[in-house]
């Protein structure tokens, strides 16, 4: 009972912090957009032929020439009602665009997040266990190189190998020509998911593997580890009982803290593979000055990153059995 209460209090505190944070994120991004030389009317009109009066009418309608405070108040008022405005390039409500795009991205991000986490952890454990051997060196060099490699370049190389040379996957991984997006079969959808997912997984492995390796080596230098070795435990059993138990939790925490990097990687990977996700929407919104959509995506990504940090905090503070035990005693 006590524990639930504590968790609720913790969550309440976090929620208040989050609300303050999001308000400042909105203010910051709004200010940045307002400073920019973007003119939404020009974007909207783009190729249409319109008279000066019509432009003036549009400007008045959208309040282009209002002071920033009025604009901000209007926009915030709409947000509270769940209305983020209308996207200028998709010509539909921003909320709908984000919902559709974010679901697609979420599948991509979560699968590769899971994949890279498991793979990275296993590689890290192997490297740490076989410290200073050839296997360790290979894994370490692989991780260092991946950490220094630009995400979009890895994506390009993978696209080149698997789509252009081997021809296993279509190069433009959008919807096949001649089919509506609703008619896409599960297989088609899977086909366009695999390459971006592999790319993101490969890149995500590096940090978690290096972290796990260092932690395991740290554990292997402790007295209790030495003692269990002296007792005659060895090999995999030793690592499983004394190593993994101690490093799993920090590794999971780290993986949750990586949501921001994951989002950044997704933006680049989606752009290379033309995967119709939130990252691609963000880039086209930025390039074609779709202000409402861009602001919507910033808010949305902030929520995403914050929830990752929140889960990491909860895991760290409430799941760790050692902390639970300490509470009971005290």
């Amino acid at each position: 009972m006590m524990k639930n209460e504590k968790l609720l209090k913790f969550l309440g505190k976090k929620l208040i912090r989050f609300i303050i944070l999001i308000i400042f994120v909105i203010l910051l991004s709004f200010l940045l957009i307002d400073l920019s030389p973007i003119n939404p009317v020009k974007t909207y009109v783009s190729n249409m032929i319109v008279s000066q009066e019509q432009i003036a009418a549009l400007e008045a309608y959208w309040g282009v020439n209002q002071p920033i405070t009025t604009k901000l108040v209007n926009w915030l008022g709409n947000i509270i009602h769940g209305d983020l405005g209308t996207s200028l390039i998709f010509r539909m409500p921003v909320v709908d665009v984000i919902k559709e795009r974010f679901t697609a991205s979420l599948i991509l991000m979560l699968t590769s997040w899971l994949f890279s986490g498991i793979l990275g952890f296993i590689l890290g454990v192997i490297a740490g266990f076989k410290k200073d051997t050839i296997i360790d060196k290979v894994i370490k060099v692989y991780c260092y190189i991946l950490q220094s490699a630009p995400t979009f370049w890895i994506a390009l190389i993978i696209l080149m190998i698997f789509a252009v040379y081997l021809g296993w996957f279509p190069t433009g991984l959008g919807v096949p020509i001649g089919t509506l997006s609703e008619d896409v079969s599960f297989l088609d959808w899977l086909k366009r998911l695999i390459l971006p997912m592999i790319t993101l997984s490969i890149i995500g492995v590096a940090s978690i593997a290096l972290f796990t390796r260092d932690k395991l080596i740290e554990v292997m230098n402790t007295d209790y580890f030495l003692f269990s070795k002296a007792r005659g435990e060895s090999g995999w059993n030793l690592i499983k009982r004394h190593g993994i138990r101690n490093i799993l939790l920090p590794a999971i925490t780290l993986q949750f803290l990586g949501f921001s990097e994951l989002f950044g990687g997704t933006v680049l990977v989606e752009q290379v593979f033309t995967y119709p996700g939130i990252g691609q929407a963000a880039v086209s919104a930025g390039l074609r000055s779709d202000v409402p959509l861009l602001l919507g995506i910033v808010i949305c990504s902030t929520i995403f990153v914050y929830s990752g940090n929140l889960i990491a905090d909860i895991v760290y503070n409430f799941v760790d059995p050692r902390i639970k035990e300490g509470e009971d005693n005290g």
Binding site: S29, P37, S148, P150, W153, L156, L287, S301, T302
Partner: protein, 285 residues
């Protein structure tokens, strides 16, 4: 157990001690980086001319990285692009460590400022870096300035955290307390006590921002928010190469990206080794 001495005798570097070896690595990496920057200065943009007689040639001894669809030599373009990246990276990381230093010292004044700085770091970490760079770049109207400022304003957080922790520790030490009793001003303490102790952290931190700065600059340019398409930046080269992937011009994407990777790796190696020299406690890692 493998006998370490047996391994070492095979290595010609084993006769040199660790300090000399580390200095050697630093010297070599910096030499390569400086050479690239100097070379890129000597390459005149006008020299990268179009030559339709040699379009789309695969790598050869004459054109190490091949040529593109306008017959431009990719090797020259790549070197020029790398030079550009290093320059932007230098500006951005210097600027961002300046921000970090100022914020860390503001945080050391009192508890309230410290909470504010911690919160400010959280604020900047809560928006994915790439989106924030895009936003800043848009607000400044794009171009080299936009990217540099964007990268600078997103990469100060880690150094600020390190400095903040370090300064907090120094502030609890006896010599700082003694100086406070003597009535020395905060600025004097910052200059005489704190700065000499954190200067290595600042130098190492600045160098370690470099690789991230270069990579983010290339990424944002690749997405189309950074340098203008007329500049031979690595991001631009790779974005262009995407159009020619399907026709099998693999060299357009492979070599410029590989070159960027090597530069980033060199900065990383230089940074880690400089850390070892300046901060002996970390040398045993």
């Amino acid at each position: 157990m493998v006998n370490p001495n047996k391994n070492k005798s095979l290595n010609p570097l084993s006769k040199i001690n660790l300090r000399t070896k580390t200095l050697l690595i630093i010297g070599l990496t910096i030499l390569i980086l400086v050479l690239i920057v100097i070379c890129s200065f000597f390459i005149d943009s006008k020299e990268i001319t179009t030559n339709f007689l040699i379009i789309n040639q695969p790598p050869s001894f004459e054109h190490l990285f091949g040529t593109d669809w306008l017959g431009r030599d990719m090797f020259t373009r790549t070197i020029k692009g790398l030079g550009l990246s290093i320059q932007i990276g230098a500006c951005a990381s210097l600027l961002s460590s300046a921000i970090a230093i100022v914020l860390a010292f503001i945080g050391s004044i009192n508890q309230k400022f410290d909470t504010f700085v911690a919160w400010f770091v959280d604020l900047f970490l809560s928006i994915p870096h790439i989106l924030l760079i895009i936003l800043i770049s848009i607000s400044l109207g794009g171009g080299a300035l936009g990217v540099t400022i964007g990268v600078a304003f997103t990469h100060w957080t880690s150094l600020t955290r390190v400095l903040r922790a370090e300064i907090k520790q120094i502030n609890t030490s006896d010599f700082v307390k003694l100086s406070e009793r003597f009535g020395k001003s905060r600025l004097w303490i910052a200059k005489e006590h704190i700065l000499p102790l954190v200067i290595t952290q600042i130098i190492v931190g600045t160098i370690l921002i470099f690789p991230h700065a270069i990579m983010h600059e290339a990424s944002v340019t690749f997405l189309g928010f950074g340098l203008s398409p007329h500049e031979p930046a690595i991001g631009i080269i790779l974005a262009e190469s995407m159009k020619y992937l399907a026709t099998g011009n693999w060299w357009l994407a492979l070599f410029p990206g590989l070159a960027l990777l090597i530069i980033v790796l060199l900065f990383d190696i230089a940074g880690e080794n400089i850390k070892k020299i300046l901060d002996p406690t970390s040398a045993n890692d």
